[in-house]
């Protein structure tokens, strides 16, 4: 019959609905991995050196590492988020031959843009030995490299090897730093520590090259994603900045220290807050485990059953199971981390006595521990939002955290020493409340989001 009518097939497009699963599978590890490394590195350094960090060597070393971790995480954050998404899309499309190229492109982009800031800082702004200047820059580049290679961690799937890389690297970092410090002071500490980090970096790069044995191709293809997923780039920036903004502000409190080298810091607050972060490591680990074991299975079933032509009744059942898994995970997290936080707060004086941390920091430490508790909960909820590709919601969580953390910390300086740390605590508490409301809201209308609002096939 003549050309009347339309091909029904053209009217019915069913792709893309499931795409976000591949896009965000295992994002818990990606989101929390760098944080974990920062917390463990800085927390341990603070913890082990807090009582004895009186030598200039240790002070200089500590500051270089803090500065490097802080600024590399914030500045690399946007590239990390974009690269993570780009890699996820490549894996989804089964076109991973651009993976190595993307890694090198991201590395080149990050180094290129960040050296413009970092090199003048170490070469001109601070007053340290020439060798130390280059060592500090090198250390910075290694840390940035680790952030970028961590984008591949979940794609590698070989968690044992990753854990080994980090374990061996951190051990070497600790031992070599201590051993080399006897003869070479700050330089020795930094060389040793950097050596350990370099082992992690090159171990992981080797794993990436084994997994993706391709030639370099289209290294800057991911750059177009900055425009398409600008929310993610901002999330990357805010995530890091929100963690650090209170420390930076405290560096300008009346009690801060300006060293002859030019470094500014407030060691009391830094130490209190890094040690406090150390207490939430169990929560981060517990969250990753609970996502992998409970949540993710329900999450997959929710999307797969839709794709497998389930009825609405079945889909709603799956939605309920998914919400229940989130609630269960959150409850377990609150119980686990809540008890740890409680014990740490209660035992703080003994902890401080045992390690020789000045007892004056105890109040600041306790409030930071409580703040970290809510911070980690809010971050976990933000990861849940990431699983549903709710980029704006995620951005708003980190936006609230960054803004309130900044504003309240400024206010706490105005209120004086007894209130130091309360700004961070209040900010984390509010952000936690905000993320609970967001997650509840979005999980409640998950079906509408999945089919309409977030469905890229819907026009």
């Amino acid at each position: 019959m003549a050309g009347i009518g339309f091909a029904l097939r053209k009217l019915v497009r069913q792709d893309d609905l499931i795409g976000i699963i591949q896009g965000y599978g295992h994002s818990a590890l990606v989101a929390t991995g760098p944080w974990l490394l920062t917390v463990i590195s800085l927390g341990s350094i603070s913890f082990f050196t807090a009582g004895i960090a009186t030598t200039d060597d240790l002070i200089a070393f500590r500051l270089i590492v803090i500065y490097n971790f802080a600024f590399s995480l914030v500045l690399t954050g946007p590239v990390m988020m974009i690269a993570t998404r780009y890699l996820a899309d490549m894996i989804f499309l089964k076109k991973v031959d651009g993976a190595v190229g993307m890694f090198l492109g991201a590395l080149a982009l990050s180094y290129g843009t960040q050296l413009v800031i970092v090199a003048p800082f170490y070469l001109a702004f601070v007053e340290i030995d020439l060798g130390l200047r280059f060592l500090a820059i090198f250390n910075y580049l290694i840390i940035t490299g680790i952030w970028l290679v961590s984008v591949f961690l979940t794609a590698l799937k070989d968690y044992a090897s990753i854990t080994r890389a980090f374990g061996v690297g951190m051990l070497v970092a600790a031992l070599a730093a201590v051993m080399l410090s006897y003869d070479w002071g700050t330089a020795g500490l930094l060389v040793g520590f950097t050596l350990g980090l370099a082992i992690i970096l090159f171990w992981l790069i080797a794993r990436v090259f084994i997994e993706y044995p391709y030639t370099v191709k289209d290294p800057f293809g991911f750059v177009s994603y900055f425009r398409r997923y600008w929310e993610l780039a901002l999330v990357g920036l805010m995530q890091g900045a929100a963690i650090w903004v209170d420390k930076w502000i405290m560096w300008f409190s009346p009690e801060r220290e300006v060293l002859p080298t030019g470094f500014i810091s407030y060691p009391f607050y830094d130490t209190a807050s890094f040690m406090a972060y150390l207490t939430v490591v169990p929560a981060i680990a517990g969250f990753v485990v609970s996502v992998e074991t409970g949540f993710f299975e329900k999450y997959l079933r929710f999307y797969r059953d839709i794709q497998r032509h389930a009825t609405l009744g079945q889909i709603i059942d799956n939605q309920r199971a998914l919400v229940a898994a989130v609630l269960r995970g959150l409850r377990n997290l609150v119980i686990l981390q809540g008890s740890i936080t409680f014990v740490v707060i209660a035992l703080a004086p003994r902890l401080f006595q045992a390690t020789g941390v000045p007892i004056a920091e105890i109040a600041m430490f306790r409030i930071c521990v409580l703040g970290s508790f809510f911070h980690v909960l809010a971050s976990c909820l933000a990861v849940i939002l990431a699983y549903f590709d709710l980029r704006r919601a995620m951005l708003s969580v980190y936006g609230v955290l960054f803004t309130t953390n900044g504003v309240f910390t400024v206010a706490s300086i105005g209120l004086g020493f007894p209130y130091y740390g309360y700004g961070f605590f209040l900010s984390a508490l509010i952000t936690f409340g905000f993320s609970v409301i967001l997650v509840a809201h979005y999980l409640g209308q998950l079906l509408f989001l999945t089919f309409v609002r977030n469905n890229t096939s819907v026009e």
Partner: protein
């Protein structure tokens, strides 16, 4: 909106779905010819297309077409996010759409939907009508009400396609015209029905193929649309339900179009039963067959000429493109059977061979395998008026046809045909039921893919001189009497004149519609 006409209205607004001037084919040929035949009438074309793509017109649109609108199905303006009174709007829409997606929908629902959408038409768009939470809640309720055992994903996309398609013809502004004439039901029919109700100007529909039938076949074959895991009976129920939703919706559109149209025209009798089944009022039905320029074809063969009269071998021809739908292979097999009886038989396949090169290759292999190289010729495209003079019997083995003009063109030259029982073929060869006086058969009608029946019918014509001559004469007469192009032209002209002159009308009286009348 009132029916006052701001600018000069067109005489006829032709509503065309997925065809002229972008797609070549029977309906487009008919449309182009209609435009050329009435150069003094001013036409406005509304072309409904599936997507906004770059399309090359396949015809030079004549200058009596004064305007042309494009409507892209599924393409709906963005519109406002919210509107005052939208809860009531959705309530009305839900009630009407529930009916439209059931076997009961039709004109009343169309009126209700139009009435609900009209006051805020400029502010309405996909944001509110398709992508809002209110629209989502409506979709879910409609699913729960009738399809709760079906795949929700499939329902979701089906709903969007069907409801989105409906809105896309409900929202655009209407060109003003004295008569709205649609070349099909479906979305085009819906548009014409809307124009009829909104402007008070009469609507006509000419159905070439039966739209609901074509959609029914398409939906029935669309297994990809409802692919689910095989879970036994349950899934079968699922599939039936959603496919029903598609066919029910298109049937509702047809009913609405039939109810709003003053005349329901088709090309041949065989279609009318389908139209009646879809709710067409018997009093509105009319047949206007396609006609041909009889005088151009009649002299091509001497009347009273029979095979072998000119001393040349008997010659049969299949006139059509070499594509699977023409089932050329059945023709080839029939030729082998005829050759067993008539050794010097000649056969031609007349038409383009480049449309489906795989199929053409298969046909040639079949010819070679049956040893018919010296019997069958693939001529490619030829000028029919130069070719028909050498043909004794025309054969048509198609598995689907509308109203193939070649049967008439050959018939005008006195060539009997052997045709499969598709489209208008039966009534062209054997005469309509209402034919009086009966002119008698002009060849034979055979079942689909039946080489034996085709061969036997050809052999009967070629071997029996009296039978051949009676068929030849019957066909000449039938074509001249019923399939004359001038009759077709006159019939449409009479309809146009009658309905153009009609004063503005109230909407057709169907329940719910009366409230409109005063506006």
């Amino acid at each position: 909106m009132t029916s006052t006409v701001a600018t000069d209205p067109a005489d006829i607004c032709l509503v065309l779905e997925g065809t002229y001037p972008y797609v070549a084919g029977g309906v487009s040929t008919w449309t182009h010819d209609l435009l050329l035949t009435h150069p003094d009438l001013r036409f406005h074309l509304v072309s409904l297309l599936p997507t906004r793509e770059d399309r090359e017109p396949r015809y030079v649109v004549p200058s009596n077409v004064i305007g042309m609108d494009h409507i892209y199905i599924q393409e709906i303006p963005v519109g406002n996010r919210g509107l005052p009174g939208s809860p009531q709007l959705f309530e009305t829409l839900e009630r009407a759409l529930m009916q439209v997606q059931s076997p009961l929908g039709g004109h009343a629902e169309l009126v209700a939907i139009m009435k609900a959408l009209r006051p805020q038409r400029d502010a309405l768009g996909r944001r509110l009508l398709l992508n809002s939470e209110a629209a989502w809640d409506m979709l879910v309720r409609m699913y729960e009400a009738r399809f709760s055992t079906s795949s929700f994903l499939d329902y979701f996309w089906s709903w969007r396609a069907l409801v989105g398609g409906l809105y896309s013809v409900m929202l655009p502004s209407l060109p003003s015209a004295k008569v709205y004439h649609t070349a099909s039901t479906g979305y085009a029919g819906l548009f014409a029905a809307r124009a009829r109700i909104e402007t008070g100007r009469p609507a006509l529909v000419t159905e070439h193929g039966i739209y609901t039938n074509e959609r029914r076949i398409e939906v029935a074959m669309a297994n990809w649309l409802f692919e689910g895991p095989s879970e036994g009976l349950h899934v079968d129920i699922t599939r039936r339900n959603l496919k029903d939703m598609w066919t029910d919706t298109f049937a509702s559109y047809s009913r609405a179009c039939y109810a709003a149209s003053e005349r329901i025209i088709t090309l041949y009798e065989g279609n009318q039963q389908f139209q009646l089944d879809d709710g067409a009022a018997p009093g509105k039905l009319a047949i206007i067959p396609n006609g041909i320029a009889v005088d151009r074809y009649a002299p091509l063969r001497r009347s009273g000429a029979a095979p072998r009269d000119g001393g040349r071998p008997p010659h049969i021809a299949l006139i059509g493109r070499v594509v699977p739908i023409k089932d050329v292979k059945t023709f080839i097999r029939a030729c082998a059977m005829i050759r067993d009886q008539i050794a010097d038989i000649k056969a031609s396949v007349v038409g383009p061979t480049d449309e489906d090169s795989d199929y053409f290759a298969e046909c040639r292999q079949l010819v070679a395998r049956m040893g018919l190289e010296s019997v069958i010729t693939f001529t490619g495209p030829v000028r029919l008026d130069q070719f028909l003079g050498q043909v004794d019997v025309q054969v048509l083995t198609s598995i689907s046809e509308g109203m193939p003009l070649v049967v008439l063109e050959a018939g005008a030259a006195g060539i009997p045909s052997v045709v499969t029982d598709v489209g208008a073929c039966r009534e062209m060869i054997l005469g309509r039921r209402s034919e009086a006086p009966a002119l008698g058969p002009a060849g034979a009608v055979t079942p689909l893919s039946s080489p034996r029946a085709t061969a036997d019918a050809c052999l009967a014509l070629l071997a029996d001189r009296d039978w051949y001559l009676s068929c030849s004469a019957a066909m000449r007469q039938r074509v001249r009497r019923y399939y004359n192009k001038t009759d077709q032209d006159r019939a449409y002209r009479a309809l146009y004149d009658e309905y153009m002159a009609l004063p503005d009308m109230a909407p057709p009286t169907v329940e719910n519609a009366s409230a409109q009348a005063a506006e």
